[in-house]
């Protein structure tokens, strides 16, 4: 007996009146990831106060980021932008001596049309430190897309990949005068693994999560020749024709486009390695591109699912509503549907159907496998309307931003803060349990409170 499911996903677009973090928040994790970097956010007090409040205590650990706070004189062009930035960057060089300074453009620099891209190369030669410009502003982007703009900008700074036969590319130094020093630009090869073209993974993951994925691929005899970003700016992977790239996060569509169009890399369009199902599909896709037959993946996946049994029992048949704010929503929904949950709505800030094609296909097949209808996907959601729908549908779990979490809990709706999914390790087989630990936490906690009679505490 088969139940007919809706084949094509339903995309809707609402008003875009939703709550999310400003994309400049990406400096919070990127400055920690890229150890020798310094992030300079060129914006106003509004940006600074956001970073300070959203990032909490991290600010006190001598952060390698700062605000270039624009004052009235900067806005009215009484002060010379170039001179001002030069003064600040020299001070940063003196105090911290980073290997790269990343300028984060904000709404204000957009509106006053400050030519950051024009000034950066000039200042770069003057002070001798590479300056990367990323426009991570709230006019154009949401939350995690900030990382996308930074990585897309960094892509241009990766050294050119050379064919390992030893031929030197003479134009290279001319084209990339600011190559990070101390690196060869050649993807080194070691014996023992299948002979496949170089593979570079993109997306910023904590180093342990990155090495777990490296390890999974190594089991299939696939060698990862580099990550974008690497632990240090001076260790960026080399890119170019013949290099295969694959994303690990669903919000990296600009980076993917830049890698394909500007650096002529081959993009492997796969679902993302979130959840054991996603991880397996991700590895399989990479294997298939390299013509490798994956080994032991099915057992590995089953073993992970087995390991999750206690959590799955808790989730089966429960419903979930994604308000949408970090672009991980499609992958998380797909995983939770596979866990036996019913997804009422997938809110998402921005939907790149091409970059997420693999993930959407897997979502579709997961839905038909689990015999549930394809959930509605709401792009640019409207939080007010969503709250009306949440109240009507009464989901078992709402995944939402911090602005709505406490008020929802007070109304008896179980909530998980979506932001935690961006800061926790959720990739690969190893972290599947951590991911479910997050999802089930409100259910487990509220389970232990449920007989106390104070579910609805709104005033």
């Amino acid at each position: 007996m088969s139940i007919k499911t809706i084949e094509t996903p339903i995309f809707e677009c609402e008003t875009g009146n939703y709550h999310t973090f400003c994309p400049i928040s990406c400096v919070a994790w990127l400055y920690q990831k890229i150890e020798d970097s310094f992030f300079l956010v060129i914006g106003t007090k509004t940006c600074g106060y956001f970073l300070q409040n959203a990032l909490g205590v991290m600010i006190f650990a001598e952060p390698r980021y700062a605000m270039a706070e624009l004052e009235e004189g900067d806005i009215s062009a009484k002060l010379n932008d170039y001179e001002e930035l030069r003064r600040l960057c020299l001070r940063i060089r003196k105090d911290r001596n980073p290997s790269v300074i990343v300028w984060i453009g904000t709404c204000t620099t957009e509106i006053i049309k400050m030519d950051l891209e024009g000034m950066a190369p000039k200042l770069e030669t003057e002070i001798g430190i590479p300056i990367v410009v990323a426009r991570a502003n709230g006019l154009d982007y949401a939350f995690t897309q900030g990382e996308d703009t930074v990585l897309a900008a960094v892509t241009h700074r990766c050294p050119e990949h050379r064919i390992p036969s030893g031929k030197q590319c003479k134009t290279e130094q001319k084209l990339f005068p600011n190559l990070p020093t101390g690196q060869t630009g050649v993807n080194s090869w070691e014996g023992g693994l299948n002979n496949h073209p170089p593979l570079v993974l993109f997306g910023s993951l904590p180093s342990t999560a990155a090495s777990q994925l490296n390890l999974e691929l190594k089991r299939q005899s696939i060698r990862v020749s580099g990550w974008l970003p690497a632990q240090r700016y001076t260790e960026l992977p080399s890119l170019g024709e013949g290099v295969y790239v694959c994303g690990v996060n669903p919000f990296l569509s600009r980076t993917a486009t830049t890698l394909m169009r500007r650096r002529r890399c081959e993009l492997i369009g796969a679902p993302f390695p979130i959840g054991p199902d996603g991880t397996r599909a991700w590895i399989e896709k990479i294997c298939s591109v390299f013509g490798i037959k994956p080994e032991g993946l099915e057992e590995r996946e089953n073993q992970v699912w087995n390991n999750l049994r206690d959590y799955l029992d808790l989730l089966r048949g429960k419903s979930v509503f994604f308000m949408g704010d970090n672009l991980l929503e499609i992958s998380l929904s797909r995983f939770l549907i596979r866990c036996g949950m019913i997804v009422y709505e997938i809110g998402i800030p921005y939907m790149d159907e091409r970059y997420q094609a693999g993930e959407l296909a897997l979502l579709r097949s997961t839905c038909s496998k689990m015999r549930i209808p394809m959930p509605r996907i709401v792009e640019k959601p409207d939080n007010y309307n969503q709250m009306q729908r949440v109240r009507e549908l009464e989901p078992d779990l709402a995944i939402t931003g911090m602005a709505h979490a406490n008020p929802s809990e007070a109304r008896g709706i179980n909530t998980k803060w979506s932001v935690e999914f961006t800061f926790a390790q959720i990739h690969g087989f190893t972290n599947a349990r951590d991911l479910l630990e997050l999802v089930t936490r409100p259910l487990r906690r509220n389970d232990s409170l449920k007989n106390l009679g104070w579910t609805n505490l709104s005033v």
């Binding site: 509004t46 600074g48 509106i111 006053i112 342990t208 406490n406």
Partner: protein, 513 residues
Amino acid sequence: MKLAYWMYAGPAHIGTLRVASSFKNVHAVMHAPLGDDYLNVMRSMLERERDFTPVTASMVDRHVLARGSQERVINNINRKDKEQRPDLIVSTPTCTSSILQEDLQNFVDRASLSSNSDVILADVNHYRVNELEAADRTLEQIVRYYSNKARGQGALNQCLTDKPSANIIGISTLGFHNQHDCRELKRLLRDLGIGINQVIPEGGFVGDIRNLPKAWFNIVPYREIGLMTAMYLEKEFGMPYVSVTPMGIVDTAEFIRQVQKHINAWAPASLGEKVDYESYIDNQTESVSQAAWFSRSIDCQNLTGKKAVVFGDTTHAASITKVLAQEMGIRVGCAGTYCKHDAEWFNEQLQGFCDEILITEDHTEVGDMIARTEPSAIFGTQMERHIGKRLAIPCGVISAPVHIQNFPLGYRPFLGYEGTNQIADLVYNSFTLGMEDHLLDLFGGHDTKEVITESLSTGEDLTWNPDSKSELNKIPGFVRGRIKRNTEKFARQKGVTNITIDVLYAAKEALNT
């Protein structure tokens, strides 16, 4: 341009939103890009607010840059008017709208034609004022708006209440211990037989503003928010106000004496006799507040001449400095504030109470000052707490900006007689902790960390290969020990002696840690 890592006061719109969302049934519509509505996060997280914060953004995106907002702001205001039927909608400019130079006043005028709510544009400029100044202005603006409106309708209520009463002005959301202070003030006034006419903005209705002049006088507990309103009400309705902050025993007594003065202006006519609170002050000082006794006790004697530095907003920094210097005999090496706009008052207040005064918004200057002064304790904001951590100097938090732990659930006022007890505890605990640390240092400490780790990990039969060892070192320190032990336990169970990265992660999966 200014290189800034940290700021003490937030941007102007935060101040406006704090005042607007403190009132009941007032909605704020910000003209702002995506992500600027983080006041909602702060209010929901720090204050653990149960209700949705009544703030929405009218999004500024690419289209707005290209074509202007056109009808968008008006539509958003009208939409909120229909959805939530607020009494007042405050249209709030941000740094973005300041430079877009759109005619927000025009939007507001047009929107108010079609909406049932009152609509006003907050008169704050992002580049001229900070959070606190903006909050002060917005409160005054709202009070002025409703006073004028009531006067126009002939609904202004200027009849004094029969019994003495007061308005408390300036209690707001996200204010440092404001909720507790408000409760303590109410208690104090009740003890004195004074009724509360109104508290604004927190929990107040804008419709009630017309009744503000019924009170005999106003109380402004904090200099930062409410002073402009009090001055407006004085000018407009001749209402006197008390702006002494009742923090510490001396200033609380001074506060009560000023209250007495204002009441006695009317008391002979209304009550038939003058009031005298002196015996109340004595009684509270001697028996309700423990702080006076504390300053006499041996404990406090040991604090004599110890050095402290104070930094915070003007109200708290000034009051705490006076408490330390005149009530506890502590030497204040330096007192400072980040409220540059109120520097003159601060200077004048603290003459004779401290060695040095520092007015700055730059936390590195404060850090340098602390390092130079080498105090035994710091009383400051969360920033100073972290500076103290780095320099191993204890810190009591006495002023915003603060974290969630400074929004305690328990009753912790800083004002009034219970406030003096809380401050005494805070000061004493900060100093003794420092003393304990010092003694530990003196006797080489009783740190048993090494002993514990040795007994828990006997890794002699196991070897970690270089890869797994370096992988282990990447794991954050606070869980590393546990991961190491679990991995070794797992390896022993499996009979593995050489620990590789595979073993490390297999252990993680198997043990679900």
